[in-house]
C-alpha cells in the first residue's frame, strides 16, 4: 500500500505529460512527421526494442559513459585531495581551473577528434571533461573543510602524509565528495549525447543523429525518452549510494 502511495504521484505526473503531449498535437494540428504523437513514438520504441538494436546502443553508450565518468572521478578525486591539502599550489591552479571550467566540453570537439580520432574516444573524453570539474572542485572544497580536530589527531599519532590522506582526509571529506559525484553524474550524462554526435558510429547519441538524417522524428523522440529514463535510473542509483554514505557519515554530528 505504501508503495502504491509513493508511486501514484509519479504515475499521475507521467500520465499528465502524455495527455498534454497528445493534447498539444490535437490543438496545434501538427503533422505527425514533424511532431510525433505518443503512440507513434511508442511504436518506434517497440520496434527498436524488438529488433534488439536499442540494447546494443545502450550498452555501448553506458560503456563510454562509465569509462569517461569513472576515469574523471578517479583523477579528479586524487588531484583534489592533493590540491586541497596544499593551499599554495591550489592558489596557482585555481584560476586555471576557473578559466577551463566554463568552457563546454563540446567546444573541445575539433581538437578531440584530431587528437583522439573517432570511435569511442571522443565521447569518453567529452564525458571525462564534463565530469572532471564538478568532482575536482567539490573534492578541493571538501578537503579544505575537514575538521581540524582530525588533522590534529593525525599529527599526534605521527601519521605520514599519505596515511593522513588515506585514513583521515579522504573519509572525512567523503560526504561532500559524494555530493560532487552526484552533480557530475548529471552533467556528464547530458554530454553523452553530444559526445556521441562527434565521430561515433553507435550509441544513443548516434541513434538520434541517424534518425534525424532519415527524418524519422518518432525515433528521435523515442531516443530522447530512453535517454531521459536512463538518466533517471542513474540518478536513483547514486541516490542509493548517497543514502549509504549518509547512513555511515550523516549520523556523525
Amino acid at each position: 500500500m505504501a508503495k502504491v502511495k509513493k508511486l501514484s504521484p509519479i504515475a499521475i505526473g507521467f500520465i499528465l505529460l502524455l495527455v498534454f503531449w497528445q493534447f498539444a498535437i490535437f490543438i496545434g494540428g501538427h503533422q505527425s512527421a514533424l511532431f510525433p504523437p505518443p503512440l507513434k513514438v511508442g511504436e518506434a520504441l517497440l520496434a527498436i526494442i524488438s529488433d534488439g538494436s536499442l540494447f546494443a546502443h545502450i550498452q555501448i553508450s553506458l560503456f563510454r559513459f562509465f569509462s569517461g565518468y569513472l576515469a574523471a572521478v578517479i583523477v579528479a578525486v586524487i588531484l583534489g585531495l592533493l590540491l586541497g591539502r596544499s593551499m599554495l599550489v591550489w592558489k596557482v591552479v585555481d584560476p586555471i581551473v576557473q578559466v577551463l571550467r566554463p568552457v563546454s566540453p563540446i567546444a573541445w570537439s575539433p581538437f578531440i577528434v584530431l587528437w583522439f580520432g573517432i570511435g569511442n574516444m571522443p565521447a569518453i573524453v567529452i564525458i571525462f571533461i564534463a565530469a572532471f570539474f564538478p568532482v575536482l572542485l567539490s573534492t578541493v572544497s571538501a578537503v579544505k573543510k575537514v575538521d581540524r580536530t582530525y588533522l590534529r589527531i593525525a599529527s599526534n599519532f605521527e601519521m605520514s602524509p599519505f596515511e593522513t590522506l588515506r585514513k583521515i582526509v579522504l573519509p572525512a571529506s567523503f560526504p561532500m565528495i559524494a555530493n560532487g559525484l552526484h552533480m557530475a553524474l548529471g552533467s556528464a550524462w547530458i554530454f553523452l549525447v553530444a559526445g556521441e554526435m562527434v565521430g561515433a558510429q553507435s550509441g544513443l547519441g548516434f541513434l538520434i543523429i541517424d534518425a534525424r538524417n532519415s527524418l524519422s522524428l518518432d525515433l528521435v523522440m523515442a531516443c530522447i525518452v530512453v535517454i531521459g529514463v536512463l538518466g533517471l535510473a542513474l540518478d536513483k542509483g547514486i541516490h542509493y549510494f548517497e543514502s549509504w554514505v549518509n547512513r555511515i557519515w550523516g549520523s556523525a554530528k
Partner: protein, 253 residues
C-alpha cells in the same frame, strides 16, 4: 620528565600575551591539573606541551629534548573526543597502533584489552554516533591508552558530560592511572575535578596568562568529595579566585 622553562607566547607581535613566563616541571606518573577561568591561556599551554603550537620564548623539554611537534609520546584527548565517525569503536582504538610494527593479532588483542579496561568490549562494533557522550570519551581514553603514551594531555575531558557520568569517569580514570602509571596533564575550570584528580594544581590567571599559584594536594589517592580535607582545599582555591575577582573590580572602579 617534562620541563617547562620560562615559556611565553602571543599570537601576533602587537597582540596580547597569552602566556607569560611560565615555568614548572612535571614528574613521571604525576597528575597535574591546570585550573583557571576561560581565556586564561590554559588550553594554549596544553597545546604547547603537546607540540601543537610553538612558543615564542622559553622551552618545553620532554626528557631533556625540546618538543617541536606532536608525537605519540604525548597523546592529547580532544574536548569533543575526536573519534572518527566513519570508524567503528574497535577501528577507532586501532587507529593509533595500525602503523607500528605489530601483528594483526597483537593489534586486536591490545585493542580488546583497553576496550575491556573502559568497559566497552561489547560495543566494539558500534559506530561512535551510537554511543553516549560518556561512552565516546571512554573510547577516546582507550584509544589513547592503546598507544601506551608516556603522557596524556586532557583538555576539559569531562566538560560536556552530566555530573553522574563525570564522577563515574573520573573514578575510572584514576583507577586506570594508578594501574598504568601514566603522567596526566589536565586542563579544567572545575575546582572539584582538579582536587579530585590531581597531585598538584596550578592556578592560572588571565591577561597575561601566568601561573598564579601552585597547590600541592596532600591527600590520599583515594579521595572523598565530602571529606574535611577536600573541603579545605576547595575553600583555599575558591578564595584564590575570589581574590583575583576583587582586584579586577577595583581596577574597573
Amino acid at each position: 620528565m617534562i620541563d617547562i622553562r620560562n615559556v611565553s607566547k602571543s599570537y601576533s607581535e602587537q597582540g596580547p600575551t597569552v602566556l607569560q613566563d611560565i615555568s614548572f616541571d612535571i614528574k613521571k606518573g604525576e597528575v597535574i591539573a591546570i585550573l583557571g577561568k576561560s581565556g586564561c591561556g590554559k588550553s594554549t599551554l596544553l597545546n604547547c606541551i603537546g607540540g601543537f603550537e610553538a612558543v615564542n620564548n622559553g622551552q618545553i623539554l620532554l626528557d631533556e629534548v625540546s618538543i617541536r611537534k606532536p608525537s605519540k609520546r604525548c597523546i592529547m584527548l580532544m574536548q569533543n573526543y575526536g573519534l572518527l565517525p566513519w570508524r567503528s569503536v574497535r577501528k577507532n582504538v586501532e587507529l593509533g597502533i595500525e602503523n607500528i610494527s605489530l601483528s594483526k593479532q597483537e593489534i586486536s588483542e591490545r585493542t580488546l584489552h583497553y576496550l575491556r579496561m573502559v568497559g566497552l568490549e561489547d560495543r566494539a562494533n558500534a559506530l561512535p554516533s551510537e554511543l553516549s557522550g560518556g561512552m565516546q570519551q571512554r573510547v577516546a581514553i582507550a584509544r589513547a591508552l592503546a598507544m601506551q603514551p608516556e603522557v596524556i594531555l586532557m583538555d576539559e575531558p569531562f566538560g560536556a558530560l552530566d555530573t553522574f557520568t563525570r564522577y563515574y569517569l573520573q573514578d575510572e580514570l584514576m583507577q586506570i592511572q594508578r594501574r598504568e602509571k601514566m603522567t596526566i596533564v589536565l586542563v579544567t575550570h572545575d575546582i572539584d575535578e582538579a582536587i579530585y584528580l590531581a597531585d598538584r594544581i596550578l592556578i592560572m590567571k588571565p591577561n597575561p596568562g601566568e601561573i598564579h599559584k601552585e597547590i600541592v594536594l596532600r591527600l590520599p589517592k583515594e579521595r572523598n568529595r565530602a571529606d574535611a580535607d577536600f573541603q579545605h582545599y576547595r575553600e583555599l582555591i575558591f578564595n584564590e579566585f575570589q581574590f583575583t575577582h576583587e582586584t579586577t573590580i577595583e581596577f574597573n572602579i
